[in-house]
């Protein structure tokens, strides 16, 4: 019998089947590669979106962070993030729970169900927003983010008296976002920057909150102060319009711009009779003094003064004080010029937005440690060196 050469039909089909399987496998690699590319792109997108969302979260008071699922917006359908706020327990390993810390966890989900997790550590008590002295008992009223009402500190100025029980809240402010505060001694009213409505609001001596009042143009109120003799005129710095406003008898008046324009007016302080209105202008690294009916002094500057926020003035208007992140500077209140003294802020004290400093009736500077939740007193020595820092009150958290 003649032997057939070559492959049979069945063998040929089998061979093609094997080849087909091999090609299918290779095609699968292409598909996997394409999927990996899409996944890589989604993760990159999620990273960018998460960075932006975290930047926003870091400026939100930790108490107001809303846990749950959130969307990134209409441009990013399918991208969502879930927030969770938890206690870290004993974070620093000292055997005690760190109750002033919170862990914010963000989990980003992409359209094809990739998950990325980001975490940030936040302090519960930050930052303080502003302060004013409440004479004649040397009380102090201040507000803090996360608190829906200003707080009144009533310890007196006994250095070293750090009892956390001496702070009582005012009635809750409508809107719940108090900023800087001013006290009117003749009426007992407390005026507060209402950050929610971009205006100011009065809490009268009976604890009733009045409707917010606003300048006639859109503004961003920051600092607020009044004189301690009559309290007839309130002074407010406006970040949006980079100007100083007065509010008296229900009328807002925008002060003329100084020859050297304000760049970022933050805190404001007024002497006892209201003849000097001091403004800390953060970006020009200077203090400014406005004298009602006269005009602006030349800027008060010092080579070491950088981005001042806190500002205070003695009741007699002889000395003005500026605090930046590291020092308190003392300026003689006459005609502009440089500082005549300065003192290093204790390493535990830091300044922050906007201006937590005021002078009590006895001349003691009361200073809010904005990050650590405490009130400090600064004892200015006779040679104008700020040498003595004492903790007057603290929250009981941090140090």
């Amino acid at each position: 019998m003649k032997k057939r050469r070559g492959l049979t039909f069945l063998e040929l089909l089998l061979a093609m089947m094997i080849a087909f399987l091999a090609v299918s496998f290779l095609m699968g690699l292409f598909v996997s590669g394409a999927r990996a590319g899409v996944r890589s792109r989604e993760i990159s997108t999620a990273n960018l979106l998460a960075q932006g969302a975290m930047e926003r979260l870091l400026v939100v008071p930790v108490e107001q962070i809303q846990a749950g699922v959130h969307q990134f917006g209409v441009n990013y359908p399918g991208f969502t993030y879930t927030l969770d706020v938890t206690d870290p327990g004993d974070f620093d390993g000292d055997g005690n729970d760190d109750e002033d810390l919170k862990v914010v966890t963000m989990t980003v989900t992409t359209p094809i169900d990739n998950f990325l997790t980001f975490t940030a550590l936040r302090r519960k008590t930050e930052p303080y927003m502003g302060a004013c002295a409440k004479g004649p008992d040397d009380h102090m009223v201040f507000s803090a983010s996360g608190e829906n009402s200003p707080l009144e500190w009533s310890c007196g100025t006994t250095f070293g008296d750090c009892d956390s029980g001496c702070v009582t809240p005012l009635p809750p402010m409508p809107g719940g976002q108090p900023g800087d505060v001013a006290f009117v001694p003749t009426t007992g009213d407390v005026w507060v920057v209402d950050q929610g409505s971009a205006g100011i609001r009065r809490c009268d001596s009976s604890g009733v909150w009045w409707p917010a009042v606003k300048p006639p143009i859109a503004s961003e109120p920051c600092g607020l102060a009044t004189d301690t003799k009559t309290g007839d005129v309130l002074w407010m710095t406006d970040l949006a319009n980079k100007c100083l406003w007065s509010y008296a008898g229900g009328v807002w008046t925008q002060m003329p711009a100084p020859a050297v324009p304000l760049t970022r007016p933050q805190g404001v302080a007024v002497n006892e009779d209201g003849t000097q209105v001091w403004v800390s202008d953060k970006d020009s690294n200077s203090l400014r003094c406005y004298r009602p009916g006269i005009g602006w002094d030349a800027p008060y500057t010092d080579p070491g003064l950088r981005e001042p926020e806190g500002v205070a003035v003695t009741p007699d208007g002889q000395w003005a004080f500026a605090a930046d992140a590291t020092k308190v500077f003392v300026f003689p209140a006459s005609g502009g010029g440089g500082a005549v003294g300065s003192g290093t802020i204790d390493g535990k004290a830091q300044t922050d937005y906007p201006a937590g400093m005021c002078v009590s009736a006895d001349g003691t500077i009361l200073y809010l440690n904005t990050r650590r939740g405490s009130v400090w007193g600064v004892d200015i020595s006779s040679d104008l060196e700020c040498v003595d820092w004492e903790c007057l009150w603290w929250t009981g958290e941090g140090y």
């Binding site: 792109r41 950050q195 937005y353």
Partner: protein, 181 residues
Amino acid sequence: MTLLELAMASGVLALFLGMVAHAVVLAYRSQAESSRESAEYRRAVNSMEWIGRELRMCEYLYSPVPASFMTGTVYRPEVGVAAPFIFRRYNAATDKLVVVGYTYDPAQETVIRAVYDPGYDPANAGTQTVLASRVLTENAKQLEFTWIDPTTTYGSQLVRARLEMNDVQPAPEMEVKVKKL
């Protein structure tokens, strides 16, 4: 093998080879397209990271005028249409201030980063000297910056940067907290 079997085997083989060839061509095209898109996206993301890092250190905005920018309108720098987005930032490495600007060139479809003379004065054209410039990314479609209302961010200044690329969806964007505008 009969003629019929041979014809059938050839037909099946031809069909099979045709399918394989088509699949290979499709896969190759798809892979090339995917690689190109990935490369473009990577460039866009790198550019956004670069812009974001510089923007985060912004200490002063020269262009557009801060008062007009801080109204919430979207600003699109574009050669021949709108001035570059120019700002001053601190350079920690040299402890000096740097003036940088970003713009979009529609003719070349590129995003350009320029470094200006540190003495840049918006009111004095003589000071607006470009010291160096380079193409940050190609195949771009649009570059835009948006101011975010501080009343929604507890007083903090945030800016949103968005870079649209040809054939890249979704367009990468990021929000950055700036020191100041």
